[in-house]
Amino acid sequence: MKHILVIAEIFEEMIRPVTWELVAAARRIMDLENSGLIKIITLSDDPLSLADKIAEQTGVDVIGLKIPGCMGYDSDVYKQALSWLIKNMEPSHILTAHTSQGRDFAPGLAIRLKAASISGVNKIKSDHKGLIYSRSVLSNNQNMILRPVPGIPVVLTIMPGIFKFDAHENIKKGQMDIFEAPFDFGSDSSGSICHKRIIKKACENKVLKQADIIVSAGRGIGEKENLEKIFQFAKCFSFSAVGASRPLVDTGWIGYEHQVGITGAVVTPKLYIACGISGSSQHLAGMKDTQFVVSINSNPHAPIFRHSDFCIVEDAVEFIQAFLKCKADREY
């Protein structure tokens, strides 16, 4: 039986929860294929406690790869150690998360393993010829379905937030194997990448996270001056805050503390109003658990409308003005 390998995601010696989602995706593959043996691989200077925790939480067998001197994620270390380990295992699938780590090492690992490589997988299905994988393309407007060529392994980076791990009650703890990698990265100063330090961008996004109602602006508002209208709109609601898509932050129109999304804040307000936001997966990841979503977009085919409760096809700024007028009229 071929192995379905899951690479655990570790950050600062902690298991990232996306690891459980990878296990769920691996189970999906096993169910569709009616075969396969899932194993989880974790890399660390001292993998024992990590491996133990993963085996306990998932009930899946774990391989802990001990790499002296590996003090955190490093693309060269991951590619070298994983290709060394995996070459002897003949896996059918290698699953990593579509996160900054997974996106960093998975394509290179695929090349080393002479494997197929599909990134950002958001659905796994099968047809008469075998497994097929869906991924988002064209600014999230469509999904492209791909089939890996048979006979070689496939490396998949799995979109976070899609596959749900259900932890059933009495899980029987998985087995653990600890191996030591035959290379020492700590003393090897010839490494091509040298990690200096990890910094955290100072950010006070408490306001955003605590707000009941968030009015968010995207590139569709057209110009910086129109942010004024967004702030006015937000003032219609109590306990409200203004959010923004990343491009507005990147161009300096508004501060990082307003950014919603995978590289900004993850928010769960009662109401989220998206003004001129297209609905990229990176943005959706930051607001999809909102109770109630309203979107205003001039393009009736904008992806955000698929993820909204109420859809308004209008120019965002004109709509806000109309809304403010309606509200003033009713209050009068």
């Binding site: 060269d76 900054s100 290179g108 090349i111 379905i145 698929r306």
Partner: protein
């Protein structure tokens, strides 16, 4: 110091893919920094794979200061897997010994984010993805970069050259081409290749490792009730809905 930037043209707008514009700008900024430090040997080359009309983005790159252009000509804007793209780019990248190769973090249409790291692997170069800052140090022939991670974290690294970096938006603001550069751009030569010239003597040089099946529209996750009527009707209806839900 030779820098190569991989740029892609979008089939719908014919524009340069968004993140590639940031990669190009970063190369121009690095070149200027070299010149400020008195090292004026920097050359900035661009390469694209696309149909004939993709030469438009090479000319645009000349207009912002690129020195040479390479064009791998395809018949149409066909689907090319990242593996094939990287294999083709690697051939061009090997023609001159580049110190630094920049790509976008992902292409705007395919959104794979694989070409850069695959190209690095094929060339045997180290690679840093998600770069949001570069800082030139000429020590040990390396460059300092910041790699963006989730939740506002950044990894500050130094990477030995030659290397591949994939560039994230927010690193810079791409400039517009200048008229004077655009005028001289016409005189600059674009070196073109077709597939046969790229892989001489090989019947089937690189084959995709995953094949296209179909396109689908993503599923809805919410009901998506469409408000109808005039602008003011819709505004009134939304106000009523929100009032009913006690949200306003």
């Amino acid at each position: 110091m030779k820098i190569l930037i991989c740029i892609k043209q979008l089939s719908d707008s014919k524009d340069i893919s968004r993140f590639d514009a940031h990669a190009l700008e970063e190369a121009i900024l690095l070149k200027q920094e070299f010149e400020n430090q008195g090292i004026d040997l920097a050359a900035v080359d661009v390469v694209t794979i696309g149909p004939l009309e993709s030469s438009k983005i090479i000319k645009r790159a000349f207009g912002v200061g690129a020195d040479r252009g390479y064009h791998i000509v395809t018949r149409d804007y066909e689907y090319i897997s990242s593996f094939e793209t990287a294999s083709k780019l690697a051939v061009v990248a090997k023609k001159r010994s580049y110190d630094l190769i920049l790509t976008g973090i992902m292409s705007q249409d395919l959104m794979a984010g694989q070409t850069g790291p695959m190209l690095a692997e094929m060339l045997g170069f180290p690679c840093v993805t998600n770069v949001v800052k570069t800082n030139l140090t000429l020590e040990n022939h390396s460059i300092e970069v910041e790699q963006e991670m989730e939740n506002g974290f950044r990894d500050c690294l130094s990477i030995t050259l030659p290397a591949v970096l994939t560039i994230q938006a927010g690193i810079n603001t791409p400039r517009y081409p200048t008229l004077s550069k655009m005028l001289t751009a016409g005189k600059k030569e674009i070196v073109t290749f077709n597939e046969a010239e790229l892989f001489p003597g090989e019947a089937e040089p690189v084959r995709a490792r995953e094949t296209f099946v179909s396109m689908e529209y993503p599923e809805k996750t919410r009901s998506g009730h469409l408000l109808r009527g005039s602008l003011i009707d819709k505004a009134g209806e939304l106000l009523s809905i929100l009032q009913e839900k006690n949200l306003v």
